[in-house]
Symmetry: C2
Subunit: 365 residues, 2 copies
């Protein structure tokens, strides 16, 4: 179940088995000048099927959307052993209910995928990466807001707070001054070098206007990898701070990001546990890490997480932008999803899987 | 139910009641420098709720996708009178099943929408429109394929065949030479005038390489409206040819468009009824019009349509790219949707509407 079955360049379509690793699919289509945009941080080991079941997001969501936007059709085995084929190879189809999107993000609880038809795009020929650091915690977020308000659409707009910066300080080629309290990694892509450079200059001006301490620009792959090394190192490097982290991924309306970060700081003070924030600033998607050293701190960490979820939902946001519910968040689902909505979802689950054999315990308590 | 409730610029979100006319929403958000991309030809009179129920496509699908891609959340009344709220205001959310996308395109058979939360984009500041005519029926399609293969992404890429051209010949400012057998209307948009002009030159070169007879370029609104007048006039002007038309909208994988057009010509010869083709060449979405003068030709027209559907599905395509199934295509649904898939959809219908009071007769025979 780990074979790429077809790459149809002229249709901009790939067909693959669910066991294919996302980065393998990405590299295979890139050889044909094509692009599979969904890019979760786990792309080097995540299976395509898993990312479809999860509706994975990733680093390019601002410009390119999420996994849902790139799945044209599915072959899936139902709980009763029957095989279902949804969608088609055409780019648009509205024949009956959208079973494809009902399955995407259903976390393996409705069906088991056996074949996945993906939409591809032409591979952008130019990429340009910028890294800016700021003296205030809001600096990176404010710069991100102005970038979006200025009608620039980078493919990545990654925020890191002060604690992240300190953790990744000596990874890769990123240089952060000791007074840096936030940073923003911006990646632009396209097919026209000149207009990309013009956009990069606009982003740099915005960062300077927001008081940037440092500004670095990478054009070639090696320099880009150097700047990205810090971003990629966040997750493992956080273990330098504490033995454990409770890692959530709330998403709020874009304009509410700074407010949400301030609320998280307030919860941090109340609960007495360090909280590290980074994430996809363009999408309003914050990766919140409550750091825990001792087992007895876990109930407090869970309480912090609950308060964070409550605040995110109160701001018009969601418990999870891209990680899904799984086991860990099942007991929190009702903070966001109402009684009637939950009952509707459970009815759909019962329709597809009356005896509960598909991924039991996931999503619903 | 026809009020725009909120336009939140900094979140790139609008909230509206379902009775709002699509073009009213478009104009209201444009005043704020924002953009609601879904643009069905019916946008001057279609209600937002109707286009969500239908998952309407339109003229900007190639670059911007369809209605589904711009709906973040819904408030809907169920058959039992209960109110359901799906999705949220954040750009990404994966909490439980994707009820929003299950409702989008469900043609009013699962719930009645009462409030719609839309995702917006920044309004492109530059638009440039081109019209090319070709001496062969494939000319416009071949040029469209090369445009897409050249990594250009126009917001519209509209094809018209010879019969369309003859019908709209004296509408607007479009000038077609008598030997024109197909034409292509290309619209580029963006935020950078220079790179747009560069792209326009590339498109023009492609059209010339494909043997274009004429090439017109419009920069200002008046000139653009002149070129679009022909495209907009297609539907009404076809009645000059015949008293009735059976209007379908198959969609095939992009590379199969020329083949599909040839198959339609074969069916035209077999059935002895004129068939006029136009559509969204970038998406593989062909508007097929079987022209009928007398009532007794209707069974033959239906037979022609059935054969066209069968061929579209055999090429990996679909009965409908954007019009949906409704009453007219319900009896054809099984050409594309298998027995098991149809049963699954009917089970979902029964779950939401056990007594069948919501839009009875639609989608399912």
């Amino acid at each position: 179940m780990d074979r790429i079955l077809e790459i149809a360049s002229s249709d901009l379509v790939a067909v693959a088995q669910p066991g294919v690793v996302v980065s393998h699919l990405q590299r295979a289509v890139e050889k044909e000048g094509l692009f599979y945009p969904p890019d979760p941080a786990s792309s080097e080991f995540a299976s395509l099927g898993g990312t479809v079941a999860e509706c994975a997001g990733g680093l390019r969501g601002l410009k390119y959307g999420v996994t849902r936007d790139y799945i044209l059709g599915l072959e899936a085995v139902l709980a009763d052993g029957n095989i279902l084929r949804t969608g088609c190879r055409a780019l648009k189809s509205v024949t009956g209910y959208d079973l494809t999107r009902l399955f995407v993000g259903s976390e393996g609880t409705l069906a088991v995928f056996t074949e996945i038809t993906c939409k591809l795009l032409p591979l952008p020929s130019c990429i340009l990466t910028l890294l800016a650091s700021f003296p205030a915690i809001e600096g990176g977020l404010d710069a991100a807001s102005v970038v979006v308000a200025s009608r620039l659409l980078p493919r990545a707009l990654e925020y890191m707070d002060e604690r992240c910066i300190r953790c990744v300080d000596d990874y890769g080629d990123a240089h952060f001054p000791p007074e840096a309290k936030s940073c923003l990694l911006v990646e632009l892509d396209g097919f026209d070098e000149e207009s990309l450079v013009r956009d990069a200059k606009k982003v740099e001006r915005i960062c300077r206007d927001q008081g940037a301490l440092t500004l670095e620009r990478a054009v070639d792959t090696k320099a880009r990898d150097g700047l990205w090394a810090a971003r990629r190192a966040i997750s493992p490097s956080l273990y330098r701070m504490s033995a454990k982290k409770v890692n959530e991924d709330i998403c709020v309306p874009r304009s509410k990001m700074s407010k949400m970060i301030r609320e998280i700081q307030q919860i941090e003070r109340e609960m007495g546990l360090p909280i590290v924030n980074f994430g996809h600033a363009g999408d309003g998607n914050i990766h919140v890490n409550v750091m825990v050293d001792k087992e007895e701190e876990m109930p407090r960490a869970r309480d912090a997480v609950k308060r964070i979820f409550q605040r995110a939902v109160a701001l018009g946001g969601t418990l999870s932008g891209e990680h899904g519910i799984g086991l860990a968040k099942a007991s929190f689902l009702s903070i966001e999803v109402g009684e009637r909505e939950l009952e509707t979802m459970k009815n759909i689950k019962a329709l597809f899987d009356p005896t509960g054999i598909l991924n039991p315990g996931k999503i619903f308590v």
